[in-house]
Symmetry: C2
Subunit: 414 residues, 2 copies
């Protein structure tokens, strides 16, 4: 699996990470603003490279969704630049003293936040991830080692050139943002196995990528996983509120991971609520259990497979349940541990939901769509973790750091 | 790789984890005290099982060190019971609100500490790990899924039976502490791949185990890795303090991971310090560079292999360096990211060491031996992480938990 080009690149990235680790907030922010400037100044070259990628993608008959995700224009470039400036404006997590104490023997002990080192990101299609991920890594003092998709490689190379201009202008080493040159599958596997180089690998992609990580990765990683999110409408729910929340969770942006995929409705309110919510979103295809299909003519029968599916589309699975226990059991069986909401006026039901539903985020009387770095106050996010180790839920700048023990004494021995 | 017995056990452990998650501190503490009582009450059965394991180990010609680690007696059982009571006395990390805020739209957002779920532990030989690890898991609300060594299986089964007596007496499900029945290598690999069951796997063992984890594990894990720890004696060091610290770091317990393995000495003080420290520990075999060998007659020439070795014995590699930069570069090349100490009176050197040495713990004027859960104030530890994700350094109860977002609203939508 050893790949000499990749290994050499890894050495350079790791070397650059040392400089990033010691860089001041002011230097890092200067690099971010410089990178934003360079993205705009180099717009012509970036868009020309993007046109090449797009031509190849069309020749390869990529679908319209993939083509759209691949496409850059002046507005999207401006968004990318603004994103970098936004990250520069966030507080620097590095150096935060998380906790500390003086031990009985006089040792002064602190846990201090430090960068991870080299953060690897594997992503698909969208070239804006190149600057978004690099910006968050840079601000948090990490080198960014990026592996984009083959279809966006020309565009990504131009974006990285612009980002490196910002690094160089601030006196930081260019390899602090590096793009894997070989876009083959073999190189991706070798990338996942760069032990001693990559301190944390973050996959941003679909199930196939996550499965490949589980199979091949030997470096530490955090899964940015599926969002099979539920809204449970309790017997005591304010049904108008419930309609608003379901409508928002399902339809405001169906293609994102914090959109709702299944609606669970308590039997006591199903007769009124299911037809109401169905009427409120005529554009949504409903796949329901028997009770739902009896209440809504357009609903088609749902299978277990439907309940397990993250549709990422204007499709909603619906199930009428006998109790909050049945709702929790359904979430336990089918949920992906992302975001789970209850709509209720019953305090005991709310407390029960919060206590017993095991997910990165549990919500009471709010849309699942709020589970997002920006909405929860993290400023920006590099992904949403559905695993439990290191980071759970939206990963912001803080989740791109680790802590380290600093122990100061006057000669103490044990 | 699917192993039906193991999978069925996994289902039971996961089910038990749900009960643990919701258990009160009082219930968990009662189970810990009950388990401690049962360990003592069942001493005869445990020691009889241990005698069987020991007989088999001697027949298999295990070395004296391994035999010692495998051996239980009344004193060690009493220590294990006291350990469980000590864990019961520690604060419960579950339920801690790590941070929280009210968002501009009125959403009340909290991050709350919750158990990981099922914690897997793979360990070798020492049967006391069975109760130590189970106790920490139980206190932190996790089910413990344990895989000990074949050589200790009879002993471990008896210990688990005692622990389960404590669980049952407190009304908690027995499978909350479970031991993998099949001690084959194949079953260990299947154990490392129990995705959906094990939320965090902790290996407690040598390099071969860590390498096997990197190769086979598909569940999230935290590495309890090697400790190739250094003490650097700076030009400005108080040399008497330096001798005390080196002596303590090397000789107080040479077989543990926070013992020092290499001594780095600034050239300006080498002529005085190296002979002094060598004379202070005549029982230690020294492997030195040319300068060291010229100063100490008994020193033998060191190789790069020596500098890379965690001796875990009364052996110390020594190198004379020209500067703090050279010391840091040596640590960077050979260190395992565990614990790195400087002895100095120079503030700039201390600050430089703390800033630029990348390890779980950096120490100024203190022995590396302090890098331990008890000494740093964590109460007890399940291992010492040398990776950067999730936990770095000693892993106490808090490191056996994760956080979860709890979002409360009044019908907010995006």
């Amino acid at each position: 699996m050893a790949d000499p080009v990749l290994s050499a690149q890894g050495v350079a990235v790791k070397q650059a990470a040392r400089a990033l680790r010691a860089a001041s907030s002011a230097t890092k922010d200067a690099a971010l603003h410089g990178a934003a400037d360079a993205l705009l100044e180099r717009a012509e070259a970036i868009l020309a490279a993007n046109a090449l990628d797009l031509a190849a993608a069309m020749a390869a008959r990529l679908g319209p969704g993939a083509i759209d995700r691949l496409t850059l224009d002046d507005a999207r470039l401006a968004q990318m630049a603004a994103g970098l400036r936004g990250v520069a404006a966030l507080p620097d997590p590095v150096g935060e003293v998380v906790d500390g104490s003086v031990r009985p023997n006089g040792l002064r002990v602190e846990r201090v936040r430090v960068p991870l080192g080299v953060v690897g990101v594997i992503y698909e299609n969208r070239p804006n991830v190149t600057s978004d991920a690099a910006g968050l890594c840079l601000k948090s003092g990490n080198a960014a080692f990026l592996r984009g998709s083959a279809s966006a490689q020309a565009t990504n190379l131009e974006i990285v050139a612009a980002l490196r201009e910002g690094l160089a202008a601030a006196g930081l080493p260019k390899p602090a943002v590096s793009l894997v040159e070989d876009t083959s599958r073999e190189a991706a596997v070798a990338f996942m196995q760069l032990r001693g180089v990559i301190d944390c690998l973050i996959p941003r992609g679909g199930r196939a990528l996550v499965a490949a990580m589980a199979e091949h990765a030997t470096v530490p990683y955090v899964i940015d996983g599926d969002g099979n999110c539920h809204v449970y409408v309790d017997a005591s729910a304010d049904l108008d509120m419930a309609t608003d929340i379901v409508l928002n969770a399902k339809t405001s942006r169906p293609g994102v991971c914090n959109a709702a995929e299944t609606l669970l409705v308590h039997r006591d309110v199903a007769e009124r609520f299911v037809p109401e919510v169905a009427a409120a979103m005529p554009q949504v295809l409903l796949r329901g259990d028997e009770a739902t299909c009896a209440l809504v003519a357009r609903a088609v029968p749902a299978t277990d497979e439907d309940y397990a599916t993250e549709f990422l589309d204007l499709v909603l699975a619906v199930r009428v349940v006998d109790s909050i226990d049945a709702a929790i059991a359904h979430v336990e069986r089918f949920g992906s541990g992302h975001s789970e909401a209850i709509v209720t006026r019953d305090l005991a039901a709310a407390d029960r939901w919060v206590r017993d539903v095991d997910a990165a985020a549990v919500l009471v009387n709010a849309s699942t769509r709020f589970v997002d770095g920006g909405e929860l106050g993290l400023g920006a996010e590099v992904g949403i973790s559905t695993q439990k180790l290191h980071a759970r839920g939206p990963m912001g700048l803080r989740e791109l750091t680790c802590t380290r023990w600093v122990v100061r004494g006057e000669g103490q021995v044990r």
